[in-house]
């Protein structure tokens, strides 16, 4: 669905749900996942329907993922780093007791 523009930067590797993905340096997590063909980033708390990035500028909160164990991160606002562990956000996050 998405195709990269020619990009001179180097690549990094990160983990998404147990699979190793490549991203360009400077990619947001959202851009990196989209470039790897991932469209469903999370499921909604209300109906469980899949959701993916919409605004890509930090407003819509549709691109929530879990990054390095931290839930509800906005994938479009976080830069992808080597070795990052990214998972889908399933439903609402839970507040630890």
């Amino acid at each position: 669905m998405f195709r990269r523009l020619p990009d001179p930067t180097g690549t990094i590797a990160f983990d998404f749900e147990g699979t190793t993905f490549e991203a360009c340096e400077g990619d947001s997590v959202a851009a990196a996942l989209l470039a790897n063909g991932v469209l469903g980033f999370r499921t909604t708390p209300a109906s469980g329907a899949p959701r993916g990035p919409w605004c890509l500028i930090g407003n819509c909160h549709e691109c929530l993922v879990e990054i390095d164990g931290e839930p509800n991160r906005q994938a479009c606002m976080v830069e992808a780093r080597a070795g990052m562990q990214v998972r889908r956000q399933h439903g609402a996050r839970v507040i630890p007791r």
Binding site: A46, H61, N72, G91, A92, R93, V94, I95
Partner: protein, 374 residues
């Protein structure tokens, strides 16, 4: 638009005007609702969403009972809006808690609620003072600083934006005319009754007029001999990311919405007509919230906003009909969500009847005329 004029023209399309207009339209009245612009100081975009009774009416027991009656009527309002507007405002009434962070706060709650119970007398007033263990039964998320609290079965909450949209959808469905960009510049009482309203969209005629224009009500009231001493009081709200259900009861100042967000609020500041958000106010609000429920500290804040309550000198509503120009009413309050059910299902009838009941006379603005004691 009705060429021969409306039964009632409601000036103000926020929660107060919208609710009164909805009640009128439901009763078969031909209604126009006049609104200003998006940039207007509208309190109805900033509500916290509590339908709250506990502690209200100190010094004015009629207000305690009026608030409680609305929390009862809210069930009917919620159903009616769902039917007329196709949108449920998600009203629930699990009972509300005020958390106390010190023994002083707890005993102040106790004496306030005991005083209200005495003041309303036979009408009855249920509440429970909670000790440290009991408050944790209701709200296991309480932190170590919470020494107790107070619980009222009359308190609940709703989604104020869905209430607003539901009122407007229902008004449209019932055939009421909504006119945006129709700021009223003059109200002219007509010989033989009725009013001509000069607006930016031309002159609109109504048999009766309801002024429910929030901060605009002061100037509009003066046009028909009504004294409406309202002033802006700044309130600020902090909203976090959504989480799984965590708070089973709304509290005064902290609640979890039907959609999972946490709202912190209840600041009161005099800043004139300034709706901006101050970081220090957000900090203070969030600081108290985290003392009550420490788990909130792990949440990200996603939004803050400020809005201006429409306050009267004593904090109670103003309900009045003009003596000089009968048929002209003013309705204003700062609890547009709590009182929405009263306004829709009860106050709208006063307009149709042409009379505000004797029992509500204490909310007329002549209460402010009493000379100050020397």
């Amino acid at each position: 638009m009705h060429g021969d004029g409306y039964d009632v023209v409601v000036i103000g399309a926020g929660l107060v005007g919208g609710a009164v207009a909805y009640g009128l339209a439901r009763a078969g009245q031909r209604v126009a609702v006049l609104d200003e612009e998006d940039a207007t100081y509208r309190a109805s975009r900033g509500n916290f969403g509590l339908v709250w009774v506990q502690g209200k009416g100190v010094g004015r027991p009629e207000y305690a009972l009026w608030s409680r009656a609305s929390s009862e009527r809210w069930f009917e309002l919620s159903e009616a809006l769902t039917e007329n507007g196709g949108l449920a405002p998600n009203y629930t009434r699990p009972g509300g808690v005020i958390a106390a962070l010190s023994e002083e706060e707890l005993s102040a709650l106790d004496s306030m609620l005991a005083g209200l119970k005495r003041a309303v007398g036979n009408a009855g007033y249920e509440y429970e003072i909670l000790d440290a263990a009991r408050v944790r039964e209701l709200l296991p998320a309480c932190g170590p600083e919470v020494v107790g609290g107070a619980y009222s079965p009359y308190d609940g909450h709703a989604n104020p934006l869905k209430l607003m949209r539901g009122l407007h959808a229902s008004l449209a469905g019932l055939g009421a005319d909504y006119l945006a960009g129709a700021r009223v510049d003059a109200i002219r009482p007509l010989d033989g009754g009725g009013f001509d309203l000069r607006t930016e969209r031309g002159t609109i005629t109504g048999g009766k007029v309801v002024i429910a224009a929030g901060h605009g009500s002061k100037a509009l009231g003066a046009m028909v001999g009504l004294d409406v001493p309202v002033h802006p009081e700044h309130g600020q709200i902090v909203v976090t990311e959504r989480t799984a259900p965590w708070l089973g009861h709304p509290t005064l100042g902290i609640r979890q919405t039907d959609e999972g967000s946490m709202l912190f609020g209840a600041s009161h500041e005099d800043r004139g007509f300034d709706t901006s958000v101050l970081a220090r106010t957000s900090r203070d609000i969030a600081h108290r919230a985290v003392r009550v429920f420490p788990g909130l500290a792990s949440l990200r804040v996603v939004r803050t906003w400020g809005a201006l309550r429409v306050m009267t000198p004593d904090g109670f509503p103003i309900y009045a009909q003009s003596r000089a120009h009968p048929g002209a009413f003013v309705f204003t309050c700062h609890s547009g969500v709590t009182l929405a059910a009263n306004h829709a299902l009860e106050a709208s009838r006063w307009v149709i009847d042409g009379e505000i009941p004797e029992g509500m006379a204490c909310f007329a603005p002549d209460r402010f005329d009493v000379p100050q004691a020397a």
